[in-house]
Structure formats: structure tokens, C-alpha cells
Subunit: 305 residues, 4 copies
């Protein structure tokens, strides 16, 4: 199988829900079209933003099938297979392959905190067993361990491991990866936090997996283009807009989940999909919803509800 060198914006799609185990199918279709209309370069399903860990496997399978059919090859689709059970990850990947996905993404197993040596063994066994190329996913705040640079360097030599998404926000870490792996044609480096896409791409990253692209896909595509063409003045102008989103829509309430609640609430206000959140999270109530509406209006978005 042929490694992907994807470049650009790969939105980590939220999973539109009507209930804890019920997909918002119409919402998912509208959201897919909304995102694709923004010119994004790929899609990433069932990541942290997609609440994958909170969903049943049946629902995850249904969602992958639905979105793959809707996209119909217009952009590559990556599917999150992060699990604490290696065999469940492989099973999820088989389903993704069958639906037409182009690759899968896996954070470290997140119950036990593995050592770096255990991570090398785990990811090697996983990549050996997968039917699709694998992107590593560094998410220390959720899985308790970093994929240390030496570990990533070792794993990057596996023929079926083709890239890494870093959501640590630790740019010392990410710069170390760029230094070691940034010039390889067969390995891609993406940054998670959208606040860092500009500087990351300016310094050599391949793109951003940015949650805000669920709401404003064209903004993040514009940022990628500006940074990839070294237009610093434009990057700084777009950065202010991205930071306005970050410091308003993602910070209502004092929840660890404010970002996710804000994105789903905004999409609901824009008439795109339901804002149900699966446990342990609950959607915003009226007062918080009013603050998201206000933030959207300041940003010039057109609220439908």
C-alpha cells in the first residue's frame, strides 16, 4: 500500500448526535458538505473532537460508513482507531478500510500508561496488523504519556507508519520532531491546536488537524495557504481571527470540555447539526448558548437559531 503525503487542513470532525447512542444522520451529512465546501484537504473522523471514546462501536461504524459514502472520494478520509484493546483497533480499521478510508489514526492505549519501549512494541504490532497506513497521535493530556522523539523516530521507519498528529501544544516537542523528520517525503507532521497551525506550517509542518474547521473551514485553509507560502503578514492577520475564536467560543464556562461544547453549540446555532454531547459531557444550557451566539455574531457568522 502506498503512503499518503497529505498536506493542508484535515478537520477533526465532530460526531453529530441526537442521543447518547443515536447519530444525527442528517446533521452529519450537512456538516460533511459544510466542511468540504471550505476547501479542506482531508477529513479525520472519530478523534478526540469526534468524542470517539464515548461512543459505542456500533455507532462509530455507522458514522464512518455514512461519511465515507457522503464524501465519495472527494477528499481522503482518516479514521480514529484509538482503543485500549489492540484487537478492537484492528477491527475498527478493517471496517474503515472496507468503507474506503485512506488511513487510520491511533493515540497510545490510554488506561495503563505504557513505557516508551512498550509503545514501540504496541505500535509495531498494531501497524503490522492494520490494513491501512497509520498516523500516530500524540495526546499526552488524555493518554498520560508523550510519544517521545526517539520513539517516533524508531516507529517512523515502519513502512506502514506514515505520519504523526501532535496535540500536546508543546512546541519544543514538535520542533524536535520537525527537526528529525520534517524533511522526509514518507512521513507527515500535523499540529492539533489551531492556534499553532500558522507557526507550525511556517516552520515546516505539513498541516493542521484543527477543530475550528468544523465551523469555519475556509479560515483554516486560508491560514494553511498563507503559512505554506511564507506570507507572514497574512498569517498574523488570520492568527488574530483564529485567536478570537479560541478565546471566545472555546472558553465559555470553566470546563475541560469547553472547547468541544463550544464547537457543537456553534454548529447547532448555525443550523448544521444537533449539539447533543455523549457522557460524561452535557451540552450548554441557555445562558452559555447565548454567549456562543454573541461570539458567533461578533465573528460575522449567521446564526439560524
Amino acid at each position: 500500500m502506498q503512503p499518503l503525503k497529505l498536506r493542508g487542513i484535515i478537520p477533526p470532525m465532530i460526531t453529530p448526535l441526537k442521543g447518547n447512542d443515536e447519530l444525527d444522520r442528517e446533521g452529519a451529512i450537512r456538516l460533511t458538505e459544510h466542511i468540504l465546501a471550505g476547501g479542506v484537504h482531508a477529513l479525520f473522523l472519530l478523534g478526540t473532537t469526534g468524542e470517539a471514546q464515548s461512543l459505542t462501536y456500533e455507532l462509530r461504524y455507522e458514522f464512518v460508513e455514512l461519511v465515507c459514502r457522503q464524501v465519495a472520494g472527494r477528499v481522503p478520509i482518516l479514521v480514529g482507531v484509538t482503543d485500549t484493546s489492540l484487537d478492537e483497533s484492528v477491527r475498527m480499521a478493517a471496517h474503515a478500510a472496507k468503507c474506503g478510508a485512506a488511513g487510520v489514526v491511533a493515540a497510545a492505549p490510554y488506561y495503563f500508561a505504557p513505557s516508551q519501549q512498550e509503545l514501540v512494541e504496541y505500535y509495531t504490532a498494531l501497524a503490522d496488523a492494520l490494513p491501512l497506513p497509520l498516523y500516530l497521535y500524540n495526546m499526552p493530556s488524555h493518554v498520560k504519556v508523550f510519544l517521545e522523539p526517539a520513539t517516533v523516530k524508531t516507529l517512523a521507519d515502519h513502512p506502514n507508519i506514515v505520519g504523526l498528529k501532535d496535540s500536546s501544544a508543546n512546541m519544543n516537542y514538535f520542533q524536535t520532531l520537525i527537526y528529525h523528520l520534517g524533511e522526509r517525503d514518507d512521513f507527515s507532521l500535523y499540529v492539533g491546536p489551531e492556534e499553532l497551525t500558522g507557526e507550525s506550517v511556517l516552520l515546516g509542518a505539513d498541516g493542521g488537524v484543527n477543530g475550528g474547521a468544523n465551523i469555519f473551514p475556509e479560515l483554516y485553509v486560508a491560514m494553511y495557504d498563507a503559512a505554506a507560502s511564507h506570507d507572514v503578514a497574512r498569517v498574523r492577520e488570520l492568527q488574530r481571527r483564529i485567536m478570537r475564536i479560541s478565546t471566545t467560543i472555546y472558553t465559555v464556562g470553566k470546563y475541560g470540555s469547553s472547547y468541544l461544547k463550544g464547537v457543537k453549540c456553534a454548529l447547532s446555532l448555525l443550523g448544521i447539526c444537533d449539539d447533543y454531547l455523549s457522557y460524561p459531557y452535557r451540552r450548554f444550557r441557555a445562558e452559555e448558548r447565548a454567549r456562543i451566539r454573541e461570539a458567533l455574531e461578533v465573528l460575522g457568522a449567521d446564526c439560524k437559531e
Copy 2:
């Protein structure tokens, strides 16, 4: 349904495996009988020591069925249903109920780190949906959050929440729970780390969920009896034996997983079951195995292999 007030030693059974997705069925039967022969008061399947998170659901279902059939009502069985998806937890509990389990145990969802308010909502929804009484499981090193005393006090008023197992090793925390809840007839408090069973029961806890009882069940039963009868001299004598296990069998290598590897290796040396560990862990190799053998011999155990 009638709440359980279990007292005593409830071993968190390891899950005997032959491969990453293959149960060691004969080993599981031998281990069940070995543990029951030690006079334990109940069994706990699919906890942290049971590697539950690393196993496929099919294997977990098979294991619960096998052990429940083997035990055949001789002691109550608790089943771990910890998951990041509430609906998968409920499904697992339904299976446990069908197999004849007496209760279920759930740590907090462990990918996202929920707030205390979210924990109250999550556990309330879970307890409402479960067909069996629920024991809370405080495991902050793995799930990143404490079930704070105020949260536990609130949840303890739910009619279907009947106890808590604490694996934090933070005795300030556990003493606070004993102070608030220790005298209730409808709520039980167990301590996870076996190094703390003596002092916990002396001070009012209801028992221990101690991994060493996979190997030496009668030792932990003796400790429970000594502490429950306030025999301090005997507690201190047994404590030295428990600490000898803790400081030898559980600390070979410098792994976060040394405890689990040690327990499985010891059971293999005693001829009880295979020592395969599911990913991300690997079993001990020859040199480490030799050190476990030596520790067992010093403890007077009879190695078969």
C-alpha cells in the same frame, strides 16, 4: 434489588490468556479454584489487574461466563464494566447479570478527564441504567481524576450505588470516606493496595480488593480476619509477609506494569495459568522470571516450573 454488604477479601482476578485475544480457559478454571480454596469472600473480574481495558469485548464476555459457571454461586462475583462509553458499560453489565454476577464495578470514564459535576451526572445515568448494584472505583493514576469525597457522598445516596473501591493509596482521602460513609449499612468501602488492607480494616474499612490474593489468597484472608478482630500484633506480623511480596514480586524491572507482570509470572511458575500479557504489556523474560522464582521460593511457595 437488594444492596450487597460484602465484607472481606475480594481478589481482583487476573485474566489468564494464551494470546492477545485468546483466553487460557483451563488456567482460568484452575485459578478460580485456587483462589476459592483460600477462603476469599467474593471475586472481582475484569478490573485493572484483570487487564480488562486491553481485551476485546468478546473475550471479556467469554471470561465472565466461564468464571461464573465455575464458581456456581459459591461466592458473589463482581464484574468490572469500566468503559469510556456509557452504553458499552451497560451492555457489559447486562451480560454480567445474565451470567449471575452480584454487582458491577466502574471507574470513571478515562479518556476525557471529567469534572466532579460531570462525574455525578455520569454515574447517576450509569446507575440508573444498570441491572446490578454498582460499586464506584477510585483509580486516579489511571483515570486522571479523583472521585472527591463530596462527589462520593452525593452518589452514595443513589439506591443502586452500594460501595467504593479505592486504589489511590492516598489514605487521607480514604480516611475521609470512612469518616463520612463508614458507618452506613448500605455502603461498603474497600481498599485496593494490599499493603493497606491491615490498617484500613483496623480503622473501619470493609475489606480489600488485593491482587496478591491471586497467588496467596489465604494470606489476605488472614489479614482481614486479624484486622477485623483488632489483633494488632497479628496484623503487624502478616504485614511483614505482605510487604515482602510487595517489595520483591511486584518490583522486578522498573516498569509501571511490574506488579501485573509479577503476579502473572508467579502464577505461571506455580503451574496455575499462562503468563501471557495483552498489549501494551509483554511477559517477563528468563532473567526476570528467575528473580520471581527466587522470590517465591523465599516465600516458601512451591514452583512447578
Copy 3:
């Protein structure tokens, strides 16, 4: 010099202040007499509860001199010399020796987080240079590192290192120390959190360095006596009283500093000394003070203000 084998209650004395760099000398004298009247076995000045790190060295020197003169040999006095500069620790210890202190206490240097090997080298150099016996102080929440059991075992062989106070509340850790060092005549083990004095002494510790003994010294002495004589029923009865203090006086407000604010406020209400706290802390205001008064009254204490 001859090692101390102190047993019993060693209150970590608060430092009575009138301002950020002004000692409450009359309060310090009253507090000393109040504590000694409770039958405590020693005194510990300038620990965490003594706000040592927040005070100028001049004030610390003055305080040690004042209390040593007031105690006049009635009980041994230990002095905290914790610093990030080894030479400042030695200087403080020289002053303590001159004033007649019996030993010094040092947590790890707390700006850089040292490795275990660096801790061995640091404490060895410190103990070599000190004019008084040294007690180690395990305080991981403040200094970011544990003094691991292997490190403590190594240091315990230094002729001038004579004991350890553990404030981690991690009883797995403390039981490991008791197992390795509890039977040595030349090394003492004390527990910091007063909620754990009962069980610690029952299981073999030498005493408690309990902050509540500033307020109710006789209670903690009674707990020590009950535990040292293996009177479990009495331990459990006293434990309830200690937990009532812990869950009321130490938990007003949601500060990390609630414990310290509560102790100082209580002493002020009892007419013993001023409740000024040095930066970064501020004393309780009227509403919180009213809650402390209420808690004291429930406990039967006689508020003067």
C-alpha cells in the same frame, strides 16, 4: 553527636506573625506554652506549617531563638532548614545549634526537581556539613519529587541522618519505609498528615508531626498513646474527632492553603496569637472566620474573640 530516637507527637508549630516581616512575639510565647501544656514530645519549627519558605531569614532566626529560649530544654526542638541553597541550609542549622535545637529537618531542594542520584549526593553533602542530626522530609506535593525508598535506605546509613517525616499521604510509600527501616533503633519514621497518625503508629511508625497539635495538642498525644498501646477501639474513637477537625477547620474555602488558614484562624479565635499569613497567602475574612468559629464551638473549644 548522639542520634535522637524521638517517639510521639512533634507539632509543626505555626509561625505567629503580625505582618509579612514581623513576628508576633507574645503570640509565639503563648502558643509555645499552649502546645507544651498538651504533653507533646518535641517541637518542630519552620516547617511547611511554619510558612518557613515565605519568611525572611532574619525573622526565621529570631523565631528559633525566641522559642528555644522559651522552651528552655523542656522538650527537644527540631528546626526546618529546607532551602534551595545548601549553604543557606547549613547556616540556618548553625544558628539552630547555637540556640540549642536538637536536630534539623530538610525537604529536598524545591526549585529544580532533582533525580534520585542527585538527592543522594545533595543530602550526603548536607548531612556531612550539618552540626546537628538531620531528619529527611518527604513532601512531594511541594518539592515535586519523592524520596524513593531506595534513596532513603541509602541515606539512612549516613551516621548523621536519623529519621524521616513523610507528608505524602501515600501509605503504600510509607509502609514500604516501615518495612525497610521500621525496626532500626537509630532511625525514626514520622507521619505528617494527622489523619494518618493512628494507623501509622499502629503499624509501627514512631509518631506524628501533626499540625492540629497547634490547636489541640492533647488530642494528638492521646491518639499516639492509644495507637502505641494497640488500643484499636480508642484509636477509632479519637480518629472520628480528628476527622471532624480535618473536615471542618481545614476545608473552609477551596484554597490549597485552607489547612494553614484554618489553623491560624482557629488560634486567633482562641486568643493565642495573630492570624496574619505571609505572602502568597492572606488570612480568612469575616465570613470564613465565622465558619471556623462555628467549627471550634462544635468541637467544644472556647473562643475568646
Copy 4:
């Protein structure tokens, strides 16, 4: 007093030592001249890289006096006054002012972990009492707390608080500060980790406080100039050189202190000053020293020893 709007490279100078309480005075003079020859814009004494916390106050006073006299006004000098005692910080600042320093720098008090409200009160009291402008210093890995953006925004309105140095490496945090404060003429933002100076200045930061500028001052000045003039190609070229230093000289051994040991060892090999480290650290031994020499030679530096 008039706020400073410093821009550029402000090396956090190491403190050359001959022993734990003995300054390497000749080394300090040579190092000062070496750094100034690189065209830096200011100097920062007694920060983390300067081992301030490990030094006696007498030695710190002597060092400030020596360097201020040597610099003789050629560049502004900032002096670290971080302490756990507010009054000791003020005393240090008075000395710095007397010696001719232009400003002082203070991380949060680092024994107790203060709340954000306590940080506001602490820094306000400190800034009120200081004779020189104050730069905040965000150093969460050492002081255990972040100066959260809302806290910084509040403090930035104090007339005597004129900037912030961030050593968190969390660029989400730093971008939030740039968004809120980056356009103010009376507040400066500097980044600590030199791996991030390029992207930080490209996105709007005012400069870097980069430890590598002790060794190669002209390299970091070149990076600042390239980034300030938006020359992305040049930034990426210089970034590779900076990362080569970071991944070789700063990572010999597996110490938390590898960076500091590496910088001091390199300066010793270049014949500039002694490489003694104060406790709890020890200098590199022969084998590690050989690896630093090799790294320096690959970088084209001319080792004298």
C-alpha cells in the same frame, strides 16, 4: 520610572562558579564580554539558567555587582529576584537597583502552589514595593502553576509590571498572551526556550531569553533579526542550527539538568569559565564531557581544552 520596551535577545546568563559558594570572577568577566560581543540586546542575571535558587544571597549580590560594573551601561541588565519570601525579593531588587540594573524578573513563589487570586495579590504587593520595573516569569515546570492569561491581563495594568517571559513551551498559552497583550507598547513578551524564538517573533513576540546565547550569542541575534524582518527562509535555516544544539549539547545524559550541565560544560571547553554546578547538580564527568566536545566540534566551535 519609565517602562522598558526591550526587543531582541536577552541571554539568561549562567553563573560561573568555582565552588558551591564561590564565584568564578574571571570567568564571569570573560563570559560577559563573550556574550556582549555577540550583539545581544540585554542581559538577564540569576534566572533558572543562572542557578539563582541554589546560590547564597551573598554570592548573588556579588555576581550582580560584578556584572553590572563590567557591562557599564552597554546594555540593560535584568536581575532575577524570584524567591518564596516577598521581602527577600524586595531586598534583592534594592541591591540590583543600586548596582544599576534596569529591571527585575520574578517567577511565582515556588514552595506553596498559589491560586490565581493569590498570584494577583502577591505580584501586586511585590510590584508596589519594587524600586525597578518588574517582568513576570511563567515557569510552570518549576513553580507548579501557570500565570493564567486572565491573571497576566490583570497584572499588566499595574504601572510597574512591564512584561513577561514564558518558559512553558506551551505555545497555545503564549499565543493567547500575544493575542491579548502583543500590541501594547508598555508590555513586552519574551519566550524562554530558544527552539521557539523563531516562530514566536514571527508571530509577534518581542524577543527571546535563550540560554544558548551564553555559548553562541550571535546565532540567536541572527534568529531574532530574521524573524523580526519576516525572512522565513532564513528563520528555517537558523532553526536547524538551533535544533542541532538543542538535540546534542542539551541532551547528554538523561538528567532533568542536562541542558544546564551542557551549557556550563560547553563554556568550560571553550575556555570561558569553570563548569562547577551548585547542588543539587554535579558537573559532567569525562565521558559526557567528550560528547559535548564532539557536539561543539560538529558545530564548528573551537574547543580550548
